[in-house]
Symmetry: C2
Subunit: 177 residues, 2 copies
């Protein structure tokens, strides 16, 4: 996941590690530590998806390679990708501009149905355990459901505004089912 976020940011231009970490924090994905960022950068370098300029010492610059861009595009648009993972969904949303318009709505829809399943499950376990859990636990579970419902509503808004932009089949994917 971190790999995708880093590649996505490097698509906009080369950066050094510290700046990259600041940007990641700014986007508010999650709180990332250097203990994740630097190993990730080494990993991406080994895979040939980024390259490093400025040897050992201060201020190394990282830039994405052509293969890196290709790889980023692939993992970004991967239909089988985990929509159950909130972070993964949020990162993909942040890079929606790089995603085929025809794929965007599919992602949003799949996320919505995952959330709905989760809401149903949470409601079930609330009913099931209502008698043996205390009011704090109950408040916690109920709040979780409320947040998830707000998320669904938000995603529906996103879908609606996406459909306004592309009311009927898009240039890139004309007849594609």
């Amino acid at each position: 996941m971190l790999d995708m976020a880093i590649l996505g940011l490097l698509r906009e231009g080369p950066m050094h590690g510290y700046e990259l970490k600041q940007r990641l924090v700014d986007l508010g994905f999650w709180r990332i530590s250097f203990g994740s960022v630097y190993p990730a950068l080494r990993r991406l370098d080994r895979s040939g998806w980024i390259e490093v300029s400025g040897g050992s010492g201060r201020r190394k610059e990282y830039r994405i390679t052509a293969e890196g861009k290709e790889h980023f595009q692939q993992i970004l648009e991967d239909e089988a990708s985990e929509v159950e993972n909130t972070t993964a969904f949020r990162v993909r949303l942040a890079f929606f501009r790089y995603m085929e318009p025809s794929v965007r709505i599919g992602f949003l829809e799949r996320r919505k149905s995952v959330l709905r399943e989760r809401i149903a499950a949470a409601r079930g376990s609330l009913r099931k355990t209502a008698d043996r859990v205390d009011r704090y636990t109950q408040a916690l579970m109920e709040h979780g459901v409320k947040v998830a419902e707000a998320d669904v509503a938000w995603i529906e808004e996103l879908i609606a505004s996406e459909q306004l932009d592309a009311p009927r089949g898009f240039d890139d994917a004309p007849g594609e089912k």
Copy 2:
């Protein structure tokens, strides 16, 4: 964090690993894997906070020890504990009944101020980056702020209902500042 959640559940009675994991999932803290649960149980056993009955084979039962209860109480009520961590806060809330009433409101207040700081920071970074991020990223950040605001409102409710139960200084902490 997992350690605290496990000890908290075992306070209610002995369980085996699988059941424990189900309960953890039911509570909806986060999605826990066996790859976390079993190492955690071994860890807790080594520390002497739980004990295992039923040797190698099927269905081991785990029960909390007296030292385990003491340790649980300590990490639960630790004033210096991380309120920045959403998961840590949620787990503690689920075990609020084991917490000194005088300590509960303190926790809620500290969580609230952390969220408020985070909202302010997010608003700042929204203003700062408004021109160079696209509408998807912006929608993501704005939604994050909204969710955090709803969280603050929820915590304020919790504080209010807590103050109803204990309107003025409690028996346990009479003159304590």
